[in-house]
Amino acid sequence: MYSEKVMDHFQNPRNAGELENANGVGTVGNAKCGDIMRIYFDIDDDQIIKDVRFKTFGCGAAVATSSMATELVKGKTIYEALEVTNKAVMEALDGLPPVKVHCSLLAEEAIHAALWDYAEKKGIVIEGLEKPKNDIHEEEEEEEY
């Protein structure tokens, strides 16, 4: 059901693990599916994401989007990272099955949460960044029969 790219990132996740010296950490979860994602950023003084790690308790798509999302933000400025949407992550993975779209939202939100944490710690405001929700739960349309 998953694309080859998804399977690749799932099997060989990039940037999995923790960052000891992280200065931005964000954790988000989806209460409905019970999955949780945490992202660690090491952001330098030029506001460039020098290093990134993730930990994910979640489905194949969650792991793959975590992996891809970290790849996409690595080496970027925090403002560029802000632009990395779940759509971008999905596209980079050659798509996800419809029931798995919400998993990619976790990745987007985890990035935001980590950036928020960084901003708080630094006492700065990142333009365009809203306080991330703790629980990502996109309303899915479920037909009832």
Binding site: M7, G17, G34, F57, G60
Partner: protein
Amino acid sequence: MKKLIYLDNAATTQVSKEVVDEMLPYFTEEYGNASSVYEFGSKNKGAIEKAREVIGKALGSKANEIYFTAGGSESDNWAIKATADAYKEKGNHIITSKIEHHAVLHTCEYLEEQGFEVTYLDVDENGIIKLEELKKAIRPTTILISIMFANNEIGTIEPMKEIGELANQNNILFHTDAVQAFGQVPINVDEYHIDMLSASAHKLNGPKGIGFLYIRTGVKIRSYVHGGAQERKRRAGTENVPGIVGMSKAVEIAVSTIEERAKKETELRDYLINRVLKEVPYTRLNGHRTKRLPNNVNFSFQFVEGESLLIMLDMEGICGSSGSACTSGSLDPSHVLLAIGLPHEIAHGSLRLSLSEQTSKEDIDFVIETIKKIVEKLRNMSPLYED
């Protein structure tokens, strides 16, 4: 190619070669209409009646108490909805359990909309229904008790005898979804006071799309599929002769091998359970330790998510499932695991492995080693797991 280790036999099984061989002539040679006048249909008619006898014998019932359906789901829907309809003058209350298959649960929910009242019994931490609660749940308006023989996810076998006796004493019909149990454990409908029993051929190396409902003589259940006069006017539709013949053969084989299979599978099952519980920390066995289907194993690995686990197992050629077959693809954690008291995130990390006669010790050894590796890998990636 990697060796395939198929451990999803609770979802569906390989059709055995003998079964296919029995079916084949009925596709291209004996294709005449079984409900016809001409001689060319009579071999089909005979084959159908023989199948009814084989299955009746397996259950200790009469042949004419067996009605063919398209599978377990239809049997469950039929048993519950059409009994409700037939006995609604007597009462509008149905008792079932929280761990039934969705074919029973969603059917009961449907009936609730139609004005019926349904009690969903709790189960204990092993998935066994509480008989005291059942006793208390019985009302003068109770028309049906529907409790599964064995659970499809955690393999727990319910106290059929006690339930049957309670139903019988209180003059309440007793239906059991035996889709998982039939062919795996011996069943006698009289011993357990079963009035209706659902089964599905593809769970016992028979073909998909065929099953049956046992209906005790005297039960006033109505038709569910209305139409032609097949199945003594109780279930319409041109008889699926190849399916019926295949199921008959599968039942014949299952019944004649039931003991040795159970013995072999139970041994392997216990070996798998014991080693995994010992060698993988933070692991829990779901379902009753001994009152369980010979082929069912269900673990929860804390800090690990089920789908990821499944995919990684799959990459090693191991087919398992997480939650019930039909709900994979759904995001909700299994209602069965929640009913036995698991918290959401642990219910999420469950793995069902269901063995077959073909499963070997080597397979199981490989599975154990693979599980150990994968669980560790996933835990290292998990934000819930801090070593």
